[in-house]
């Protein structure tokens, strides 16, 4: 498993990147660029939490796929429904 030190480091990274998200908003970037950066940061944080705090990295890959299927279903609904309006 992972040492407490690594957990602490990950916690620090999460903490800082949450702050960065808000700073990006005030950095005066164009809306969609800021949108992209902020969502990528959220996704990266989510991956860190899932991989280490939920230790998916150290589990059989099937659990990751399981969550991935749920994610694909949710995204399919969101994207296809939104597209149907355009």
């Amino acid at each position: 498993m992972v040492s407490t030190k690594l957990y602490t480091a990950i916690y620090a990274v999460l903490f800082v990147s949450a702050t960065v998200q808000v700073l990006v908003e005030f950095a005066g970037l164009s809306y969609w660029l800021a949108f992209g950066v902020i969502m990528v940061l959220s996704a990266a944080k989510a991956v860190l939490v899932a991989a280490y705090f939920q230790h998916l990295r150290f589990e059989p890959r099937s659990l990751t796929y399981l969550v991935g299927i749920g994610l694909v279903a949710a995204l399919a609904l969101t994207l296809a429904a939104s597209y149907s309006l355009l």
Binding site: T19, F53, A73
Partner: protein, 853 residues
Amino acid sequence: MTDASPGGDAAADGGHEVARGGDDHDFPGTGSIKRWFVTTNHKDVGILYIVTSLFFLVLGGVLAWLMRIQLLAPRALGEGILAPVAYNQAVSAHGLLMVFWFLSPFAFGFANYVVPLQLGAKDLAFPRLNALSYWLYLFSGILFGVSFFQGGTFSGGWTMYAPLNVPTFTPDVGASTAVLALVLFVASVTVSSVNFLTTMHRMRAEGLTLRNVPLFSWTILLTAWMMLFAFAALLAALLVLSSDRLLGTTYFAMESPAGALLWTHLFWFFGHPEVYIVFFPALGVMAEVFQTFPGRRIVGRKWFILAMVLVAIQSFAVWMHHMFLTSINLQVKTLFMITTIGISLPFDLMVFALIYTMLKGKIRFTTPFLFVFGALLLFIIGGITGVFLGAVVLDYEFRGTYWVVAHFHYVMVGGVTALVGGLYYWFPKMTGRMYDEFLGKLHFAVYFVGFNLLYFPLFVAWETPRRVFDYAPELAPWHQLATVGGFVLGLSFLIMFYNLFKSAFVGDPAPDNPWEYATTAEWAVSSPPPLENFDGTPTYRDGHLEFIDDGEVAPSEERSGGPTGAAVSDGGVTASATRAVTADAELPTAEATEVEGPSHASIWPFVLSAGAFLVLLGLSPLQDAAFPEGMVGAAYATTAVAGGVVTLGSLVAMGLEPFHGPVFEEGEAWPFAGIDNGKVGMWIFLASDVVLFGGFLGAYVFTRVAFGWTGWEPIPSDPIPGLVNTYILLTSSFTVVLALVAAEKKHKWGLVTSLGATFVLGIGFLVNKGLEWQHLFHEGLWLSTNVRASTFFLTTGLHAAHVIAGLVVALYLTARAWRGAYLEDSRSVEYFGLYWHFVDIVWLFLFPLFYIL
């Protein structure tokens, strides 16, 4: 199922019932009423499901009769036996009851009874959760029944289209109650899906790889997967609807951008998989019976399974064919027409496989075979008429007519036909007695004539508009024919009830296998099977079913309680085998690792469900987040509070109750080998929760796109409180990690402190959020201000509800840890952490979407 003393079974199972005045001793026989309230055995639960679902069949059927009587002639308002709103209620309740409270539970009655037997398991992975599924189902049905007496039940059709589904158009309290009843039903389905998926992936007998699993079990496996994701989307839809009705949010209100369209997306994303969810088990029965009575193994078995897997996946990509007449764009309609026509192809393969199997065999026309053969014919008609509806241009003409009604009744009731065949097929196994073959065949003849007399004229009279009781007078003869057919079909069930009821007591005793050429494992045990299914451990090691004496394998594994005695080849698998003993519930009371025989009795699933029933009943009259004035409102509020106390109390009681799930011998566990049942169950649940939040976020994104993405400002003008909450949640996630580390190091106070810190941080999160909301309320913003405010309050509110649920568990864990728990076995802490981190992850997306972007 056995009247033979359960204690004897436990003794035969290794004689370790001595340790405790265990549940086995308290487990009453089948003749006792008490047995049916406390049982957690899968066979008992299966029978409860079947009997209850048949009750709802009768209820839904009587409503259908009322409609058919009304339709004997085209009526003006006020004519006929039903008042206009009563007719609408009958139509809506008939649809909801038949689809939700009859069809799926009827199929899952068989699933409960048969699947563990076919897998070689002693029970489902989480027996108490299985009982919980049943009781939630029963109480959700009762809640639906209550809705008729609260001014009238829901009257907007079973599809509950917006904006008819909001109080502006359906103001009765009963309409809200019907929606809440569905919420409770979905809770039952979710618990059941998690349980079946864990069981079917983790608890197959040695050598029983997925490829070799019997076809009925295959259909249930795929059904459970579809249920897990589809019902999560329905839950999102229903929670949003409940909030619109009870709290006053405005997602589906007329003035919200694309509110009506949002409902159709959420509903049909669930609704189309639902078609296969109700049909697949019927297909499984067909596959079993089509093998047994022609005496042939199914032709192209591998391809049959592959076709089903394809359908299960593709079922999530066809939903917009229910929306061809809405304002969705032409490109997406075309795309969904293609996927829809495409999904009919795997079905062609399955139909031909069944026909060819039949042709290659030597058919014996027993009652079960007649029913599934009839079902195949009906399904072919239903399927072909559905292809018409899948074509965009034809649907422009057919939509909202009786063509649709006739089509889906051929499909759905075609499925029922197969399931009735399944009831005759497994009746000897369940009761130990044979039914009367002549009466069975008579039932089939009357049923089949009645069915076609009822539904075929509806194709002819297709120009009748759906859901109304007025139609062109020249169509009246067809409707009269259909009404006659309705009564023939309904009354044919009297023959079945008489036959089965009588035979259950005085029928000829059934042998283990009354059907020559039936090959699945349920026929290898006695009729009915013993309480724990098998006398030995079933194995398919040598390519066929065998039973190994329990003495050879079980004791060394079971008594070890730790890694010492379990030093069999692969550590991972064996460890999970010993652990699985206690792995009931999402958060097992893990310290009870001393091993005993499996338990079969718990009253708490019943009490918990009753509590949930009271909560929802109590909340039903809410409008704009307020109870009605006066005594009535006070009575409802009291009911809700009392229900809450009962629910919470029974959850704690269930957590503390010593209960042992089935002893799990080493077997096939792809793809979750080496992971605890409890952990697999938790992750499966979380995957469905991903879809639940996906539905909420999808609703938000969709509404915002309809509104104009960049014209939409975040509700909180200041992101800082949100950022502070992000910090708090991240920190609480970290403390949960520390708690697990402390537990693994057997560091009691580290564990207590970390868990306590998590609890305090969670409270801090809620307080901060409360202050923020308070501030927004003072600014004049409320849930009903506009849809922008609605999405903000409801989505973050759902998240806060998850936090509160987590805090209840955190408090429980802290208290137990204080008394020294979790140091030997930290799994409860770990599973709680999985949930808590998930809630954290959700917030990582809510924060930017609702506060900064």
